[in-house]
């Protein structure tokens, strides 16, 4: 049926990547280029008394920038613009940028960075959710609350009296580092004539918008070019605006090109991470195991500035009630300020935290009322036509019972549950199996896509090649390839004849940020519509019949451009019909579409060494049409590996708001020996308003692994652990708590 879609066509920039020819920002050098560095706060919170430059370094050779050198607004434009580029008088978190340095010699600039002395009077600081909520010290706004809202459906207070069972639980998740292997980096050239930025980023127009407020220049004088980007995972959504601003300030003052590339320690210590969370759930269930009420309190630690916390909170809260039908739901959500670097976007954007809580909780509920975990889910899953916690009616065709059954069959769940229960009693290594059932909304939350008003375009060249005009970035996930597939398929032309230039804000329209699992579904749809428009231009001009070959298409493009000039077609976002969202009450259609999934994990827990191994992993999902089977599976496998890290290894150790283990030697991500074969399966139910039926996929796979693995661990050891990362020390305490025999002599 399709020519290109569904085929494993070659990745557009694959050849450059496997030959080492792909150019990342650190691979660029400009004549006269200076190397920039950032002097950062050593204290968590305080008043800056003075900045000193000790003797022994040729300070006159350095370009030095402080807050006073910023020609425009000293705050990074985002949602509430509260984060300064450079601290001015006060610092609010460790590693907060205070001063910038540039010099041609990168070794000297590093010596100078270490030499600058900041004299700061410490002020009381707040660390962690509990301290922030205690409000003993107010460090942000009037009450430390960056954002708070409630979602209400029915009346949750009405259910407690009639409930057959009430089950409560508290669940916690730690910070997680995105750990893209390419650290953040930018190069800036800046003068009154304009600013040009080359860098590693997800959202060129976010950077453009930020620079526009920091410098007295018109939009046409600011140009942002995305270089090949070595991974983002959300970590290059907002921080690049900060770093681009820094590089541009140094370039503005020095008159030289300036490169700033963080080393790993700086990137880990200073840039964003996944928000730590605490979720409390109180659930009322009928005697038949039907959900009656869910009262959920969801709190995120946002760090010292608001940045993206409001929208991370929003996505997290909306996903907090899970894919279950419940007549009475209350979700009280808040993001609180603490004196650590601001937490930000990371694949999943709040949902992995709340889904971890709900899927752990559902296993607790099942155990408490004496139902099998799968049976409790089966009695409560959402069906087409039913409503979510935000009262969104599910219009998609979805059959979660069937998805659940298939995933459990693929994992041989029932046989293994029995087998392990028999073996575990006499074995030192206890085995377990568990699963998570979940959904992930694609595109911006609520009215987000409507506000974005994204535009995507195409240009047909005289030789019949078609260029894609979008600011959507390739960060490894396959943007270049899948967008080209969608265009080639819609136009009925060869995939090789579709090209996608590097995003450059002087050449491409704003197709929105590359976040929120929106690139395929939303931008892909815009391109599908633009392609239809392009074809219509050719047919209306009488140059192309309804049926045509690739050669005829190229001829028509040649004749069109000769006669009328350039042939371009643009399309702007319009919400699918019947989509309504109310920002005031947090109710309505939170997302255009959801992806649905069941993940099953099988684990071994060594009760002596406290090692946990994930032995098997089944990832079954319904994501609409799969555009590229290899890239889609790659998204799932990579997301699951990150999820395994989130669950078991990736532990950010905080010391007074600072990451104490800001090295790859002691912040541990999974290696090739730490992950099992991940068995990926897709069900494809084409989504009416997605390009050729596709929905979003990128974030989904990080949602499921942690709860599935922790459910499997409880199945193995019989002790509930409701906090991640579950590092060996925590497991040891859990085994002691559960009085699990730990003798080494057995088995």
């Amino acid at each position: 049926m399709f020519q290109t879609v569904g085929q494993p066509v070659p990745r557009k920039e694959g050849r450059e990547k496997v030959t080492g020819q792909a150019k990342y920002v650190d691979d660029l050098t400009f004549p006269g280029m200076l190397m920039g560095a950032t002097v950062r706060s050593p204290v968590s919170r305080g008043r800056i008394r003075s900045i000193e430059f000790p003797n022994g370094l040729p300070w006159e050779q350095f370009t030095i920038v402080t807050a006073k050198d910023i020609p425009g607004q000293n705050s990074v434009a985002l949602i509430s613009d509260d984060q300064p580029y450079l601290a001015d008088g006060f610092v609010n978190h460790p590693e907060e940028p205070v001063l910038l340095l540039a010099h041609p010699d990168k070794y000297l600039v590093e010596r100078a960075r270490q030499a600058v002395r900041l004299d700061i009077d410490p002020l009381p600081a707040v660390f962690g959710i509990e301290e922030s909520l205690a409000k003993e010290h107010i460090i942000w706004g009037e009450d430390n609350i960056l954002k708070a809202f409630a979602i209400e459906k029915g009346n949750v207070e009405s259910v407690w009296a009639e409930a057959a069972h009430i089950i409560e639980g508290e669940y916690r998740t730690g910070a997680q580092e995105q750990l893209y292997i390419e650290t953040n980096g930018m190069i800036a050239v800046a003068s009154q004539n304009g600013i040009t930025i080359w860098g590693s980023m997800q959202c060129p127009y976010y950077v453009h918008k930020a620079l526009l407020k920091a410098f007295p220049l018109g939009p046409e004088k600011i140009r942002v070019i995305q270089m090949e980007t070595g991974g983002g995972f959300g970590g290059k959504e907002d921080y690049p605006s900060m770093l681009a601003g820094h590089a541009a300030l140094l370039a503005w003052k020095s008159g030289h090109p300036v490169k700033m590339v963080y080393d790993r320690a700086e990137d880990l210590a200073a840039t964003t991470k996944r928000h730590p969370s605490r979720t409390r759930i109180r659930t009322a269930v009928t005697a038949e195991g039907k959900l009656l009420g869910q009262d959920i309190e969801f709190v995120l630690d946002g760090g010292a500035y608001a940045t993206l916390s409001a929208v991370v909170l929003s996505r997290g809260a909306i996903h907090a009630a899970g894919p279950y039908l419940c007549p009475n739901v209350r979700i009280r959500a808040s993001a609180v300020a603490t004196n650590s670097p601001p937490h930000g976007a990371f694949r999943g954007f709040g949902a992995p935290q709340s889904i971890f809580a709900m899927e752990r909780h559902m296993d607790q509920v099942a155990r408490a009322i004496g139902l099998a975990p799968e049976e409790l889910r089966r009695r409560n899953v959402l069906h087409t036509g039913e409503t979510t916690a935000t009262r969104q009616v599910i219009r998609e065709k979805v059959n979660l019972e069937q998805l659940l059954d298939r995933a459990l069959d693929l994992a041989d769940y029932h046989a293994k549950t029995k087998l392990f229960a028999g073996q575990n009693q006499r074995s030192r290594v206890k085995r377990g199996i568990g699963f998570a059932l979940f959904m992930h909304g694609a595109g911006f939350t609520g009215s987000g896509e409507r506000y974005l008003q994204s535009v995507a375009g195409l240009e047909a060249l005289a030789d019949g090649r078609v260029r894609i005009l979008v600011s959507s970035t390739e960060i490894g996930q396959g943007t270049n390839t899948i967008l080209a597939q969608i265009v080639a398929e819609t136009l009925g032309i060869n995939y090789d004849h579709v090209e996608i230039p590097r995003p450059d804000t002087s050449e491409v329209p704003n197709s929105g940020p590359t976040v929120a699992s929106r690139t395929c579904m939303v931008v892909g749809k815009l391109l599908e519509s633009a392609a239809i428009g392009l074809r219509q231009s050719l047919t209306k001009a009488g140059l192309l019949d309804e049926d045509y070959s690739g050669g005829e298409f190229a001829d028509a493009c040649a004749r069109y451009t000769e006669r009328f000039g350039p042939l371009k077609s643009f399309c702007q976002y319009q919400a699918p019909p019947g989509i309504h969202w109310d920002d005031e009450t947090y109710s309505g259609d939170a997302y255009g579409a959801f992806a649905w999934a069941v993940y099953v994990a099988e684990v071994s827990v060594d009760t002596v060494t406290c090692e946990i191994t994930v032995d098997d992993f089944v990832a079954l999902q319904e994501v609409g049409r799969v555009i590229h089977p290899v890239l889609a599976a790659g998204q799932i496998e990579g997301g699951v590996a990150q999820g395994i890290g989130y669950a078991l290894f990736e532990n950010v150790v905080w010391k007074n708001g600072r990451m104490a283990n800001s090295q790859m030697t002691n912040y541990i991500m999974p290696t090739s020996v730490d992950v099992p074969r991940i068995r990926v399966y897709f069900e494809e139910t084409p989504y009416e308003y997605g390009p050729l039926g596709a929905k979003g996929i990128g974030e989904l796979p990080i949602d499921g692994p942690a709860p599935a693995i922790l459910n499997a661990i409880e199945n193995a050891i019989g002790v509930a652990v409701n906090e991640i990362p579950l590092v060996p020390e925590m497991l040891m305490r859990a085994l002691e708590r559960g009085k699990v025999p730990m003798e080494a002599s057995v088995g």
Binding site: P8, G14, G20, E182, G230, G638
Partner: protein, 158 residues
């Protein structure tokens, strides 16, 4: 200590550089020889993005002072192609989905090259062990394992 003249045999060519003896091989390759295919991921030998072959042994070039490579053979990603033809590993990585963001890819391919020299027909366990020093945040390693298998089968002519 001042700069010294050091001779390197990089990708089959004799090259001379004036460099501080303790300069990292990684920086010399990238900045002086303009071989930017070798990447820096962590600067402390954990991630393998800067992996190159030194006299046929896999090393992290961020941990090698350039004085140690005087007169020795270095293979970087730029030296793997045969004229315009991709090495079978490069082909396999591109086809099988072994490269996503691409930043770990040069080091990963060189580690795979080294692995296939030791084990022309590696088991999955041998591939996992052989690549355990190279971190990838995108793929979950699975498509990389597939690519190495595919390349080893192709080299064997099947």
């Amino acid at each position: 200590m001042g700069k010294q003249r050091i001779e390197l045999h990089v990708n089959g060519c004799k090259r001379h550089v004036e460099s501080y003896p303790m300069a990292r091989l990684l920086d010399v390759l990238r900045e002086q020889l303009e071989l930017t295919g070798t990447k820096e991921g962590c600067g402390e030998g954990e991630c393998g993005a800067c992996a190159v072959l030194l006299d046929g042994e896999l090393v992290n070039s961020c941990l090698v002072p350039v004085l140690q490579v005087d007169g020795r053979d270095i293979l970087t990603i730029e030296g793997l192609q045969d004229g315009g033809h991709l090495h079978p590993l490069q082909e396999a990585f591109a086809e099988a989905g072994g490269t996503q963001c691409g930043i770990c890819t040069p080091g990963m391919i060189l580690a795979s090259y080294h692995l296939l020299k030791l084990h022309p027909h590696p088991t999955e366990e041998q591939i996992r062990e052989g690549l355990a020093g190279n971190l990838c945040r995108c793929t979950g390693y699975q498509k990389i394992l597939d690519a190495v298998k595919q390349a080893s089968q192709r080299a064997a002519g099947d």
